[in-house]
Symmetry: C2
Subunit: 496 residues, 2 copies
Amino acid sequence: MKKLGIVDMGFLLAEGRETPMHVGGINLFTLPPGADEQEFLHGLAASLRSDEELQPPFGQRLKMSKLGLAGPVYWEEDTKLDLDYHIRHSALPKPGRYRELFALASRLHGTLLDRNRPLWEMHLIEGLQNRQFAIYSKFHHAAVDGARSMHLTQSMFSPDPNARNLGSAFSLESQNRYRLKLDQLRAENYSEQELRNVSEAIKEAFQTSTQVFSSLKSFVGGWMGKGGALALPWRHVPQSSINTPIDGSRRFVAQSWSFERVRAVGKALDGTFNDAVLAMCAGGLRLYMQKHSELPEKSLKAMVPVSLRQAGDIDSSNAVGAISADLATDISDPLARFAKIQASMIAGKALFSALKPKEAALMLQLLQMPGLLLMPLGLISRFPPFSTVISNVPGPRQTMYWDGARLDGIYPASIVTEGLALNITLVSYDGNVDFGITACRRSMPQVQRLIDYMESSLCELEQAVGIVSPKQRPSRARSVKKTKATKKKRRVSAKT
Amino acid sequence: MKKLGIVDMGFLLAEGRETPMHVGGINLFTLPPGADEQEFLHGLAASLRSDEELQPPFGQRLKMSKLGLAGPVYWEEDTKLDLDYHIRHSALPKPGRYRELFALASRLHGTLLDRNRPLWEMHLIEGLQNRQFAIYSKFHHAAVDGARSMHLTQSMFSPDPNARNLGSAFSLESQNRYRLKLDQLRAENYSEQELRNVSEAIKEAFQTSTQVFSSLKSFVGGWMGKGGALALPWRHVPQSSINTPIDGSRRFVAQSWSFERVRAVGKALDGTFNDAVLAMCAGGLRLYMQKHSELPEKSLKAMVPVSLRQAGDIDSSNAVGAISADLATDISDPLARFAKIQASMIAGKALFSALKPKEAALMLQLLQMPGLLLMPLGLISRFPPFSTVISNVPGPRQTMYWDGARLDGIYPASIVTEGLALNITLVSYDGNVDFGITACRRSMPQVQRLIDYMESSLCELEQAVGIVSPKQRPSRARSVKKTKATKKKRRVSAKT
């Protein structure tokens, strides 16, 4: 039996009925030519439910002592595994637009996973227009983090549209097959920093002999204290509707943009793709706050998670650090805003590279853990460490297929917590960047508008750097659209 | 602001992620001739979402002091009421059989209601075969009990297939209209016992000056003590798979039987309709236990709730007492089993009639409350006060319509708790008796078989009393079937 690490424990400790701690999202597909929807989906469900041996932790459930979460927690085999429970089949009401899909995903994302069972669900969803279908998946963050879930996506699908009978992505065999392929390709793009696994580092830092829960408590006490090494710079971010107590229901919306279009803005300003993503979100948030008459004087800060997973490590579940990015929402000029965002990202990265690996890992904890731990203490909305989370998860670079069904988009759904009512996660896949936006339904009921404001923000940046955006060149756009139409119209785009 | 009574508080205190405390169920309809499903359902949703003033507590949410549930709790207006959240639209995957409907209802019934909002949801469900559609509704027991929900059903529908634009059943206006109609008709069939509202009686018994929570605790202490007036006879019911700890997921199945067919068995044995229902369930449970090799030597006991709601009282939410019925599952002869069940019901009713009203109300608490209160203490699976719950809720006698859509069946879904993993609730409606069976998915994964065993049990009783059951008379059955076919085939029946 494997013992849960301290970070995974944190996700269990922090979970409540208002703050489910699962990640997941929507994958969108087009049926193979000629395939019958019902027959095809039943085939997929059957292969996912096959009784192969599952890779950990998909066949395992939590085992606690009488101390509950105050004591050690292990993964144990679930001897009564009920795959019909985990693999589900749903349908959308007519007319089956993305709107109906997002309404369903919002609902599914707002309910807790059952802690008596393996901590995941996968829903096959039928009833979309244009021969599309979707899956919504849901993994507890204590079991699977964003990067692991992306490895799962990679292993589940094939770049070959004619590949069939790929088996269940949750099987041990599928994991082994994928590990082999990964060794051969070494094409992974994760950070090569020689950082240790976060949970290992923090375990050492707090000494494993000490009781985990009380260690964490004293750690939070230290963080809350004023001055010293623990008084971190982003301590005083402004209050907004994002930084409020939340309830348990969610709004999920999604949108794709062309990767090239976003990267071109970054390039034109000597910045990275990620800088451009942050600038696009920052401009969108500024507009949203303006329209709701609540733009704070001080700039919003975003937590930008950084993967610490070592290349080739596909099964340790949580290996994530964070940089605090200044979103410069107090600046109206888009170029000056971009420059300030870029500077804060460079400073954040420099901070990590100047530290020894072990120090860096610990530093990341100082940036990441308090949010999790302040939650159960109910303090985070008064001392918000960040305004929001903007997280970039690398996805497959080429078009992928699932038993011949083309994967059209990957839209991640993440966690929102007390004081962090908005999460923006994006996946770059097959020439697009797919955004999934998860929000508290009560704190940000109109979060779907953020999508439009992000498009406005991108246009504004393009205009400022002299790029003619697709919308401004109708004559060329027409021919471009024609060739891309068959592909584009099946993505979630601004027109839907 | 209305303060919650002690019984309603009990449902909040007892609720946990493994034991949601909501009731509800499936209502099945046939679209009006010529109506377009999508258009019709959108019309219904729109009228349910109209911004009329809502009757309490559908527009109200819980308001607690800093003491939480240990202090007084009130209903307050939800100023941010979001009816899109409460009125939902779902669809079934193809082929849209009752099987898919029950799978969806099982899932919806296994998730907690959001305590930050009014404690109810209603789901319009499309995608059924034969021009049927369904609603699944979900009400927290602290807000709405079974009888109140039946009043809601009555007020929602009309006996006139041509009646249209009935408005939202949740509106204050609809409640007032219904109250008037009730005054005129006085056709209600509730118990006329001059009993006081249960929560009033128990409040007096424990003195309002004492803190509610500690009173309940000492009450449980008394019940757990041995001997004296509190050592009640059903204390030692046998262990079975029904009396186990449960988890949070559910299985829901439903079935209709002809009211006449069940009543004929009761009549032939000088018993009531309810005696026949209990005998049918008892025989079914005996077969289920036998097939799973776990039939206990001692007989199973059923809690049979009795409504204490006074005629004309349609808004006090919980007014329920209980009789403990001996199911005689240790007896193989169906007639001897029936006789023992009947005797225990007569004894239970005699017990109530011999008590003064106030004593009866208190006695009912002794029968009902411990189950609720033992739950949070984790003791009920060791001291199960009953084996299961079999509850009969009176429904409308005539065929009802919702904006012209015929109501085909009313299948209630109820609560299962620690140690009571099975609940059987039935509604008599329009010549049928509609059973809804709710079970813990882990404890009773094959509960759908109980439906068949109940049919076997009914046939066995019919045979024993010399009634020729419909299955045994093919020659006459044919002609009977012909006339009833159009109606019957749309009910959930043994053939689906």
